[in-house]
Amino acid sequence: MKQRQGLLVVATVWITLLAHWLTIGYFGPSPTDRPDIDLFSFLVLTVVQTLRGLTSIDSQSSFTIPDYISATPSGSASLTPPHLLGNAGLFALLCLGGFVWLSRAETPLSKRLTIILFSMAVISFSVVFGGPLGGFGIIYPLRWLPFVYVIGSILAALGVTVLVQQSTGSWRTVAVALIAVMLVTSMIGTNYGSPDDPLYDDANGAVRYELTDSEFTLVQHIVQYSGETTVIGDGHITVVVERQYKRPALTIQYLADSESITGPREPTLLIDRQYLQSGHAQFILTNNDQTIPMTGSIPENVVNCGPNSVVYDSGDDMIRHRPDGWC
């Protein structure tokens, strides 16, 4: 391909992207209470804020979690190595495939494409891992992965080929079957492999995104009878109430200093589902004036604090009415 044509494609792509981002409003075409700002300006402001945050001392690393709370900060810290073994294995295969095929590719075409693919993988993984390491969570590493794995699968397949080439005769079938079993088993039960209800549930971050029948009935009940009352609950259940049923809902924010929950000073309904003590519930923790999202168990005395009465009980899950809204 002529380089001029490639340059033209790249220029068209970036100009299209920029033109679109300058056109669309971050809060829709005609926001009522929120600023009428285009997406590009919004992102520039966010990046500037992130950069400012990087230079301040007030970072998450100095955050302390009280001993009595069994939870970890949401994100990568809430996982355990077994959840990442499959991906790390794939990463090793990808590197192996790239290293070996750079010298083993036979045709000029395969050599050139191996160089391009391998370099793209290196650049992509540098962004995916380098971003969060440098405090740049704004680049959404998880969103990059479905794209990166299209390239990564090609290189990892070269790695698998290199490995099975080492075995001979009928051992080759055994080697292939073994590699396949190990890869599938390590992937199928992780937090990403089974988001409905992770099979490997040792980590706080292995969040169940599927509602049980009891929880679904509770949500329907609250939607039917709550009116405009604010609903409080763990991260996922409030997302369901808010995004599926358009009801105001707030994630539990626990203030460790005063052992209380914040909220509006008006009557609220708290969803006290059994899942709050499962070790996988999402909530917000404030300690020493610092606030971060957490995943883990929400202490039972916290849920039960202050004046409240149970207005719904399915045996597993409850709704608590809190006349003061907070405690």
Binding site: S30, P81, N87, P108, P146, F147
Partner: protein
């Protein structure tokens, strides 16, 4: 017509320069991987993040294995990994595990028990072995992709609602777009998706045409295509550039990787962006080796589709296309110099 045909032919060139030094580059990279991997593993003592616990050791192992393999004799080309005589047993195992997964899942009222997990793993592995025992593309593709779709079906339909956080919102909005027949629901929500609404329009239209709920529609037009399209692209790309056996592995790895499962069972704008993204990348790769203008138009066209689907996906793909063309220019220049 004849001149057009000539224009679209791939230019053939001989390689030289840096390409001849590739073996030493391989060794250098392997050593670098060992050093960085070892350094990163020590870093775990200071930063106890699970990613740092597993990725640096993986890099270290890859470097060691690579050095070892580079120093061994180059093995002969593999014609077949699984003997053809195994085919009947493999087909029986695949049929049993495929049907077993379905019965165990439906029998437990859409619950994924350990039995369902076990049968799914068996279906994947026997599907892979069937693919490797055959050379016809359809037989290589069908067992792995059908297992991939069944696997996602079992995850997708376990509960009363769509899985995930954003996917719940996207699916509801698609339903409202279908009912109102306009994009007004997105404007009312004050959403940045108002002019980036390909996902919502696609699911709404599909829902109206097929007369099924937005949830079922998103499974058919988002979840299933995200298994099939990238996997077929990977398969055809590797088959053309490398070997059919490697092509089977590539497809298998993409279908089974947990991140691919995650994004397909949480159907949302990102997933559709990734479908268009894989189409954009393959067109960009094809256009590198051809002066055919059609491929460049397709690259820009698919990118346009991403722009109107998902903002972050558009940025990621713009970044990857730039990297791909940049690398293509660098490698091409090296060739033309020699």
């Amino acid at each position: 017509m004849a001149s057009e045909h000539r224009q679209c032919q791939k230019p053939t060139r001989e390689l030289g320069g840096m390409f001849q030094r590739l073996p030493s580059i391989s060794v250098l990279l392997s050593v670098l991987a060992i050093v960085v991997g070892a350094g990163g593993s020590i870093g775990y003592l200071f930063l106890s993040n699970p990613y740092i616990a597993v990725y640096p050791p993986a890099l270290f192992i890859a470097g060691c294995l690579s050095l070892y393999l580079l120093n061994t004799n180059k093995p002969s080309k593999i014609e077949s990994l699984v003997p053809k005589s195994y085919r009947p047993y493999l087909i029986a195992a695949f049929a049993l595990s495929f049907v077993g997964t379905s019965i165990a899942y439906l029998g437990a009222s859409y619950d994924r028990s350990l039995l369902v997990y076990g049968f799914t793993i068996l279906a994947y592995v026997s599907g892979l072995l069937i693919a490797l025992a055959n050379s016809r593309p359809f037989i290589q593709i069908a067992p792995i992709l059908s297992t991939g779709v069944l696997h996602r079906f079992t995850v997708f339909y376990g509960g009363p609602l769509v899985l995930g956080n954003d996917s719940i919102w996207h699916t509801r909005i698609a339903g409202e777009v279908a009912v109102s027949g306009s994009l007004a629901p997105l404007a009312l929500e004050e959403s940045k998706y108002f002019l980036t609404s390909f996902y919502h329009i696609l699911v709404a239209t599909g829902s109206m045409i097929m007369d099924i709920s937005p949830r079922h529609t998103s499974f058919l037009v988002i979840t299933v295509p995200f298994v099939i399209i990238p996997a077929l692209i990977i398969y055809s790309f590797i088959r053309r550039v490398y070997t059919p056996i490697t092509a089977v592995f590539g497809m298998f790895l993409f279908v089974t990787v947990d991140v691919s499962v995650f994004w397909s069972v949480l159907p949302q704008a990102t997933t559709l962006g990734a479908i268009f993204g894989s189409l954009t990348i393959i067109c960009a790769f094809r256009s590198m080796r051809s002066d055919c203008i059609t491929l460049q138009v397709l690259t820009v066209g698919f990118f346009g589709a991403i722009v109107f689907t998902h903002h972050a996906s558009a940025f990621i793909i713009a970044f990857l296309i730039t990297a791909a063309y940049g690398l293509s220019a660098v490698t091409e220049r090296r060739v033309s110099v020699t």
